[in-house]
């Protein structure tokens, strides 16, 4: 659990506040969480499902994309819990967790927004500190922003995992009956929406022709190979 908490914090900070080495991207974050939870392949599957979904939503200016980092971490955690406490098959646990993570994770955007508001309130003190020459305090004030971002990362994660675990546990029989038959194809629908999202946002010349060419080429290769 400690490893997961550390991952939640470090990925949450990497997302905006610190370093920005992109370990916060779902593919990386979910895979690392998969290793920590002893399910590396499941982590990879969560990452593949979520990576493209909001990739085209750029964090430009005040626009905040949904917190796909905590959604990824929450989803893999729920998937593992679904297998352990709900005794669900791996694919069903993955599909159910994806749906729960996507829905519950919408709170992450609100919380992210809240951290930035706390920071905005904090910077109102900056002109006075500068005028008084209190630069050490100015530096501390800046670094306090890390606490805000770290805190909302944890909260976003908990908002997904706590109710999600309850729903998985209470509804395990219904989930097994209704979602298991849909799971194998269902898990592929999420990355397919991601593919459409990237295509929709791409404004490059000949984008549709390039997409079609890539599609036909790989399709033909797969047919020949199989």
């Amino acid at each position: 659990m400690g490893g997961l908490a550390l991952l939640c914090l470090s990925c949450g900070l990497d997302r905006t506040a610190l370093l920005q080495f992109m370990i916060a991207r779902p593919l990386i974050a979910a895979s690392m969480a998969g290793w920590v939870l002893g399910q590396p392949l499941l982590g990879l599957q969560v990452g593949v499902s979520l990576e493209l979904l909001w990739l085209a939503h750029l964090p430009v200016g005040a626009s905040i994309p949904p917190d796909d980092t905590q959604i990824a971490l929450g989803t893999i955690t729920l998937a593992v819990l679904g297998m352990r406490i709900g005794a669900l098959p791996a694919e069903t646990a993955l599909f159910t967790s994806l749906l729960l993570g996507l829905i519950l994770g919408q709170a992450g955007r609100f919380l992210d927004h809240r951290a930035r508001q706390w920071n905005a309130r904090m910077v109102l003190r900056v002109p006075d500190l500068v005028e008084q020459g209190e630069f050490e305090q100015l530096e501390r004030l800046h670094l306090r922003g890390l606490l805000h971002f770290g805190l909302v990362s944890f909260l976003s994660f908990l908002v997904i995992v706590l109710p999600g675990t309850g729903l998985l546990y209470l509804g395990r029989d219904l989930i097994d009956k209704w979602l298991t038959p849909l799971s194998s194809v269902g898990v592929l629908l999420v990355p397919l929406v991601g593919v459409a999202g990237i295509w929709a946002q791409n404004r490059s010349h000949s984008r549709s022709a390039l997409f079609g060419t890539g599609f036909v080429l790989i399709w033909a290769l797969l047919l020949v190979w199989k």
């Binding site: 991207r25 593919l27 990452g47 971002f149 629908l189 295509w199 890539g214 599609f215």
Partner: protein
């Protein structure tokens, strides 16, 4: 401190460079990266100005500032060079603050297009091929593919800013980053098409349908693209698609192929 002694040494510049990684720690809606900029350049300003002159200079840096985080080192490198010249009493045509205000929006546009819109999707799609095939080190490929240009830009941008001052803008123009962003987007679209085919064939096979029907899936992506261009969110699209799949599945199993 005499004006000629006001010089940024390597150790100070290293401290500024390391602090650039903390630039967005206090990102907010009021000054955006403003406080982060002040935090990053403070070691340099402390070196250039005596304590009684510092408040006036720091005030300039703690105002509104917003550009792409990977492009900030280039802006601040040049701003620090200009600040050093100002501190040494050299007459310069443009103040560091004016320079920052002038370049932050174009640099933001270049950075967003290249790093967020170009390199990141390309690295993601290429890594997803590996990940989809179950290669466990695919995330490492994604990480390295992004970390190299990130570190290069943070390092070289800062170096060029400090070394070339205002001329660094020309150097960055020579790199033709906007053209590279466009090329990345085109390669991404090609690779994305292939990844779409991989998803389609795998999905069809899981539903016990031959992969030969994959172009049918391509036809289903096109309306999704149309709807998403008109503002339908990915979240809503997932809900609709899963709902449609559930209806299709249950109608096929309970109505069309209903056991007698």
């Amino acid at each position: 401190m005499s004006e000629t002694q006001r010089q940024l040494d390597r150790w100070t510049l290293m401290k500024v460079w390391i602090r650039l990684f903390f630039l967005q720690a206090s990102w907010n809606y009021e000054t955006m990266q403003g406080l982060g900029v002040a935090y990053a350049v403070l070691p340099g300003l402390r070196r250039l100005y005596p304590p009684q002159e510092l408040p006036g200079v720091v005030a300039d840096y703690s105002q509104y500032f917003n550009t792409h985080p990977y492009m900030t080192p280039s802006v601040l490198g040049t701003a620090l060079k200009l600040q050093q010249e100002m501190a040494q009493g050299v007459t310069i045509g443009i103040s560091p603050r004016q320079y920052s205000e002038m370049v932050m929006a174009p640099y933001a546009a270049i950075g967003d297009a290249l790093f967020w819109g170009g390199l990141r999707p390309l690295a993601a799609v290429l890594s997803l091929y590996l990940a989809f095939l179950g290669v466990l080190w695919a995330p490492l490929v994604f990480f390295v593919a992004q970390a190299i240009p990130h570190l290069w830009m943070i390092g070289m941008g800062f170096y060029f800013g400090l070394r070339h001052g205002l001329l660094s803008v020309e150097r960055i123009q020579q790199w033709k980053l906007s053209d590279k962003a466009l090329q990345c987007k085109q390669v991404t679209m090609f690779a994305l098409g292939g990844f779409g085919a991989l998803l389609a064939v795998t999905g069809l096979e899981k539903a016990n349908v031959s992969g030969i029907w994959a172009p049918g899936v391509l036809l289903s992506i096109a309306p999704m693209v149309y709807l998403m261009r008109r503002g339908v969110t990915p979240m809503l699209m997932v809900v609709v698609l899963v709902g449609a799949w559930a209806c299709l599945y249950w109608s096929l199993t309970n109505v069309v192929f209903k056991p007698l």
